[in-house]
Amino acid sequence: MNARLTTILLRSPVLVTMVLFMLAPMVLAVVYSFMTNGAYGGVRMPFTALAYRQLLFQEDFDGNLVFSTGYLAILWRSVLLAALTVVASLAIGLPLAWYMACSPPAKRARLLLLITLPFWINTLIRTYCWVLILRDEGLLNSGLRRLGLVGGHFLYNDFAILLGMIYTYLPFMVLPIYAVLERVNGDVIEASHDLYADRLSTFRRIVWPLAMPGAIAGSLLVFAPALGSFLAPDLLGGGRRLMIGSLIQLQFTSSRNWPFGAALATVVSVAILAVLFVVVRKSFNKVPAR
């Protein structure tokens, strides 16, 4: 058997599986988003853009279309919270990754394990932890009361959602940054010091540019799932502070409006593809060719 044929034969099972069960469903979802919803869920012909219109306009009692910001507000909040999650995990993750990269090899392995482990623990359980801590009869409140301070309501607000998302997605940020920093040659940093750069300017002009590819990869890996996040808004936001993930889920369950749900899913996917495209192109221009 020639090598080319072997390669094709080896690649085809995964190619067929991913095209059939990953790509085709996403294409079908886009098709569904242009259909009308059936009386009992499901979809009907004809093709329309009604689902997308629903994002911006709502019909009032007389059948007139009125511009409505309800769904746009949810989209905007989702983007904002996802972006804040990226910023916060970058702020926490970058120093941590640098600390890991600077540690001696044996300790490095242990630190790495400690970051990797939570990543594999069930997300539902990791989000539920914060319910136990933040709820009114929770650990935080009882602790505050014991200290003689007045407690408050910590659950069911945007801050709780943000906290839950940072907690869930932080490893996605730390790991890629660590992967690039680990390979940094210490000589460049010593050279920068020899040339009278202080810590801050060494960081700004040497470490940060080197960490950049990792930070970009990490930001994408955090942003994408955070944008479609379901558990944090549901459990920590109480389902009242909707994010787009919960909104999509609602359309497929209680609201039974599949075309609208599919349209929302399409919007999210396009948004992420757009970010991916822009970031990848920009970062290719910035990273100097080696």
Partner: protein
Amino acid sequence: MSSKPFDWKATPGLSTLSWVVYLFLYAPLLVIIVYSFNAGRQATLWEGFSLDWYAKVFHNRDIGIALSNSLIVAVAAMILSTMLAVTAALGLRHARAGGGGQITLGLILMPLVVPEIVVAVATLVFFSGIGLKLGLGNLIIAHTVFCVPFAYLPIQARLTDMGSAVEDAARDLYSNEWQVFRRVTLPLLLPAILSGAMLAFASSLDDFLISMLLADAGQTTLPVYIYGMLRLGVSPEINAVSTLLLASSVVIVLVALRMQGMTKRKS
């Protein structure tokens, strides 16, 4: 201070900051574990040590069914995704950048970038569109797809690390391609394959959203069942079953990483 040699590895305050972050990562998990041994009925009011809630979990038939569903799906998805990952890694081994291999690689890694909710609803729409009703089979297919990247990455990393010198040597000694694969490539790759398989298993156990949207009645997986319990309110029973799931993920992943570590020490 200035007489001390410059040590760029020690940034002031960085170590403290890092340990605070580790505390942030682990303290909440500890809360669940501690409260799972709480004697009281209240989920977060400590009333002494007890194993009652674990006993309750073990006697709960529905939890047992959910667990066995989870295990069936995870084992099946693990086997299928690992087989796909091994063939893919071998097939993409000599892929050039910009070639057709890049597209296959992009497809393999797609589940890492597309949010789970989008994968979940797209799969739901697709299965209902083509009228696929295989019971747990539907879940197995969906899980296999998003487990592929987790199985693929360690195998691919190992293939890159080990180079092709040993295999070339075997070829020089008149082994045919099949013998090279069976006697050289596969044994060298085995720890990475096992590691990838376990990571796939762990990600299947971790899944909630896809199972929630796709599972029919009676096919509930454990996380979906726990979510259902949460709807009824916080209880120590949830803490106990969560702790069990948490502990099993930790064990699986530790073993998987150990295998990966073995491949590194050998090379």
